[in-house]
Point group: C2
């Protein structure tokens, strides 16, 4: 049983519902950001992130920095790409467009390979693009939160290594880390950026990322200085290395309370094999998708193999708008999200099913959310 006060179940694709122990960690008494207690907590947190990302390569480097998930884009765009260098952004929705805009702000020369809404760019067209130009980096939004489209990473990485081996492969994992499998070393990824408040299950406020030795080298070998300060890897890399080595170190004050909460969340995640976690998310996602299909509804992500396992974007029946259904769901104690992809925003809603709501069998939120949707549609006159 939750010790949290009664409140609407937050079933948007992040922030998600949080575990009691994680929320309690947010109230940790104040500690010095350079004192031995907090330094140990932060160091352990970084080491646990290596496990979550499935990397044992000592050249890999995790970063935890106060900020929204969006800050991860700045870290990539400001440090790993120099002005005028070419970046190929695989585009599956609103958040891929955002990542592209971020590169442009820092002077990157962006090419977007854009799939139709609900689909993802396919390997043959990616291969063609990679052969046309020498890209410094290719980025992929693992799950675009605006569409629920899941991109494939393993075959993509193999393609990039075959066709353009020097191109860095960076993943926006904001809506995928801790609910979709990511094998950082095995899949030869160069960067994954994410945020605390989605499947990791820690309140918002932390940008979390992992970079490969190759990515760090690309940063170290820049010809131009980094045109950023708070987002500069130059300022943070040795700080992260020191914290992990349990040595006090200072660039900018981290948030001890958020790091404590992240420590608690990661400890919970790693208490079970990651394979079980991903299987459980897949199982619950399959159940959600089947219910949606049985209701006669279509998903924004058209192909089953392109559908995310931590969220579902659902087209509403003709004649029912998000503003018709979301308030009804709220009255039933369930918070869903409206659409955010500008081409289809008035036609669909988004349902997040990740983290503790999926992993803790005592929490009824997923079923409650599906029941509320069914009843809400009926109240809007819909018949499956």
């Amino acid at each position: 049983m939750s010790r949290q006060p009664e409140h609407p179940a937050l079933m948007i694709p992040g922030p998600i519902e949080f575990d009691d122990a994680v929320l309690q960690s947010m109230s940790h008494y104040s500690e010095s950001h350079v004192g031995p207690g907090f330094v140990a907590t932060f160091g352990e947190t970084l080491t646990m992130l290596r496990k979550l990302f499935q990397t044992t390569d000592p050249a890999s480097q995790p970063y935890v920095i106060s900020g929204s998930g969006t800050l991860g884009w700045d870290i990539v765009a400001a440090n790993l790409v120099e002005p005028g260098e070419d970046v190929l952004v695989l585009t599956t929705g609103y958040f891929s467009d955002g990542f592209a805009d971020c590169f442009k702000a820092y002077g990157g020369n962006v090419t977007q390979l854009r799939a139709p809404v609900g689909e993802r760019p396919q390997l043959p067209e990616i291969e063609k693009a990679l052969k046309e130009k020498k890209y410094k980096m290719i980025t992929v939004t693992h799950v675009d939160t605006s569409t629920g489209v899941l991109s494939e990473l393993k075959d993509l990485s193999a393609l990039v290594r075959r066709v353009s081996p020097e191109t860095l492969l960076v993943v926006d994992g904001v809506c995928s880390v801790a609910c979709e499998e990511i094998q950082f070393d095995e899949w030869k990824l160069d960067g994954v950026v994410t945020a605390s408040q989605k499947a990791i299950g820690c309140p918002a406020g932390l940008s979390i990322s992992m970079f490969s030795g190759r990515a760090i080298e690309a940063f170290q070998n820049r010809k131009t200085p980094v045109a950023a300060y708070f987002a500069s890897m130059k300022n943070w890399t040795h700080i992260m290395q020191n914290y992990e080595a349990k040595k006090p170190s200072y660039f900018a004050t981290p948030s001890p309370q958020l790091v404590h909460a992240l420590h608690t969340a990661l400890t919970q995640i790693l208490a079970k094999p990651l394979s079980e976690r991903f299987a459980r998310h897949r199982e619950v996602s399959d159940r959600v998708k089947k219910t949606i299909t049985d209701l006669g509804l279509k998903q924004v992500a058209a192909n089953p193999e392109d559908q995310a396992h931590g969220m579902t974007a659902i087209y509403l029946p003709e004649g029912i708008k998000p503003t018709d259904i979301l308030p009804i769901l709220a009255k039933k104690g369930v918070v869903w999200a409206g659409g955010i992809h500008k081409e289809i925003a008035p036609k669909y809603v988004r349902f997040g099913h990740m983290g503790v709501s999926v992993m803790d069998p005592s929490r009824p939120e997923v079923d409650k959310a599906l029941e509320a949707l069914k009843d809400g549609l009926v109240e809007n006159g819909y018949k499956a």
Copy 2:
């Protein structure tokens, strides 16, 4: 009585000890960042910041963004100064140097007016500098946390307006907001950047800033695009305006828990007249300074009128190093900070006395910290 578990009193110049209710707000159940409950909380928080900064000018704009206080420097340097423009950085320690480095990262042409350690640049030399070159901006570190030097703002502003009225005056208020008086409108300030974890008394993780209509215009009239994304005012200004108007709006996910804690902290601060708050910090600071002087110790900030009221930087007696005294203080249950100014680091320690430890008469931390220092010096063989 505090409901927090027994723990060492954190008496460094930030993060500080936090109030129970503030820490409890950190555990707030998860809410949508665009739901009506959180939108109202965030909107009220922004409105309360106007009161804390003593601005009623509707053109002023508060910003609350996930990040360390350092992010505030990026917001100033990336948005309000264009590459090649001149910035005069009044330098009173480590943190003024950091602000200067941040401007350089974004292409600003920095001149530092550097005072000897423990002093601050004087008005005649500032006037001379302002007459030598047309500066886009002048910055001042209100309290440099590395030295405890307090800079004066009112006469400085009058000077800038008289000699170089178009120059923007921006204040680093990280260690001064909520413990030193700041009259944003009356003193014609163009920007004040600060962080949550110092005298405001909310856990670390929020960059908090206030900009004048003139500063916003300088941003809007830029000739070059902002070369940043997460720190770009273009992305945040309408978001802040929408939250304050209680309208949901999205650029990057804020931290509902941190914003709740900030809301609680500001509600407590504004429950009493600000004048009482500043007077109380001055009174406690005077007591701290007198004790230090009576012990025969000198402060880094040499002149009484240049001494901060929320912290004290203290030279140790000859032959006693920070590594001799800090562990003894820790054993007595009080955490002080070592030196951070590179010219004098092994010679001094820093004591933070701001926020709830000063304002809540039931909290014994300040006296405990002074007693611990006295006893610790005696244990090191010191005789006053």
